[in-house]
C-alpha cells in the first residue's frame, strides 16, 4: 500500500515530495526487517524530524515502527489516508514541528472521511 500511496501522491504533488516508502518484504525475518527500517530511519532523522504513517495498528508495519515511538523527532500515525498524506506534505514543507503536525493530521484525516450523499443532502436516514 505504501508505494501505491506514494505514487498517487507524487502524481498530484510532484516527485520532490519529502515522502519515503518502507514496505515489509515477505521473505525477510523480523530481525532483517527491523534492521532495514532502523537504518532507513537513522538516515532520515539525520536530515530532520520524521512522521511515520502506517496502515493500521497491529499490522506488521505498525509492529516495525512502534519500537521507535519514544525516539526524539518521531511521531507515528495509523490509518493513513490520501488527504492526510497531502496535508502532511504541506506541513513538512512549512517546517511545522512533527508533534504539532501529528495532532493536526489526526483531525484532518478524520474530517476528510465523508459520505458524499450526506454532503449533498441525499443520505438515507
Amino acid at each position: 500500500m505504501a508505494s501505491g500511496l506514494y505514487q498517487a501522491t507524487a502524481a498530484i504533488l510532484g516527485d520532490d515530495i519529502p515522502v519515503y516508502v518502507f514496505e515489509t518484504m515477505p521473505d525477510h525475518s523480523p530481525e532483517e526487517r527491523q534492521a532495514r527500517f532502523e537504518a532507513m530511519l537513522r538516515e532520515l532523522l539525520d536530515a530532520g524530524e520524521v512522521l511515520l504513517l502506517v496502515d493500521f495498528l497491529g499490522g506488521t508495519p505498525s509492529n516495525v515502527v512502534l519500537p521507535e515511538m519514544d525516539r526524539d523527532g518521531v511521531e507515528i500515525l495509523t490509518g493513513v489516508n490520501m488527504p492526510m498524506l497531502f496535508k502532511a506534505v504541506t506541513l513538512a514543507r512549512e517546517k511545522v514541528p512533527v508533534g504539532d503536525a501529528a495532532i493536526r493530521l489526526v483531525e484532518y484525516g478524520r474530517e476528510h472521511i465523508r459520505q458524499i450523499a450526506a454532503m449533498l443532502g441525499q443520505a438515507n436516514s
Binding site: 515477505p26 532483517e32 493500521f56 497491529g58 506488521t60 505498525s62 509492529n63 512502534l66
Partner: protein, 170 residues
C-alpha cells in the same frame, strides 16, 4: 480449550488479529516466549492492535506447561502463538504424556537468511527447526502451512533434511 498452535515469526499481526482470531473464534492468545515474557515494553506494544474482546497473555514455555491443564479445560478458545517451533516441542511431549490429542499446528510465516529449507509458500526453516518439527510430527502433531485464513493449507510431511528442496520426502 486450545484451538490452535501457530508458528509465526511476525507473532501478533494483521493476518492473526483480522483473519485467524475471528475465523477460529479465538478469545485468548497466549504468546509462548521466554524472551517476551520478560519484556513488558514489547508486550505493551504488541497488544495495542489486538481487539478489546481478545485477551493476550505472555508466558514462558515452563508457565505454559504448568498451566496446560487450565488451558486445555477452559471454555475460552485459546491460540498458542510462538515465533519458532521449538517452544512447542515440550508442549507436545506433555500432551502425549497426558494422552491428549494435539491441536493442529499451523506454520504461518517463517523467513530469514538462516532458514534454508522450504516447507511452504511462506514457511522456511533452519536445520534445527526441521529437527524440532520432525519431533513434533513424531509426537502426533498435525503440521500444516497456512499464512492467511483464506489461503489453501498445505499438509506437511517431515522427511529427510535437505536444503532448498520440497518438504515432502519419504
Amino acid at each position: 480449550m486450545i484451538v490452535n498452535l501457530r508458528v509465526d515469526d511476525r507473532l501478533i499481526h494483521g493476518q492473526v488479529t483480522q483473519g485467524w482470531v475471528p475465523s477460529l473464534h479465538i478469545n485468548t492468545i497466549v504468546v509462548v516466549s521466554d524472551v517476551l515474557a520478560d519484556n513488558p515494553v514489547r508486550q505493551q506494544v504488541m497488544q495495542l492492535g489486538v481487539p478489546p474482546s481478545v485477551r493476550v497473555l505472555f508466558m514462558t514455555v515452563t508457565q505454559v506447561l504448568d498451566a496446560l491443564q487450565d488451558l486445555s479445560s477452559t471454555s475460552e478458545r485459546v491460540m498458542l502463538l510462538s515465533d519458532s517451533p521449538g517452544p512447542f516441542c515440550a508442549l507436545s511431549r506433555a500432551l502425549n504424556q497426558r494422552q491428549e490429542d494435539s491441536p493442529i499446528l499451523t506454520l504461518g510465516n517463517l523467513h530469514g537468511a538462516d532458514r534454508a529449507h522450504k516447507l511452504g509458500q511462506t514457511v522456511f526453516c533452519s536445520e534445527q527447526e526441521y529437527s524440532q518439527l520432525s519431533e513434533l510430527a513424531r509426537n502426533g502433531v498435525n503440521l500444516e502451512c497456512c499464512a492467511g485464513v483464506h489461503d489453501a493449507s498445505e499438509q506437511v510431511q517431515m522427511g529427510v533434511w535437505q536444503e532448498s528442496t520440497d518438504s515432502s520426502l519419504s
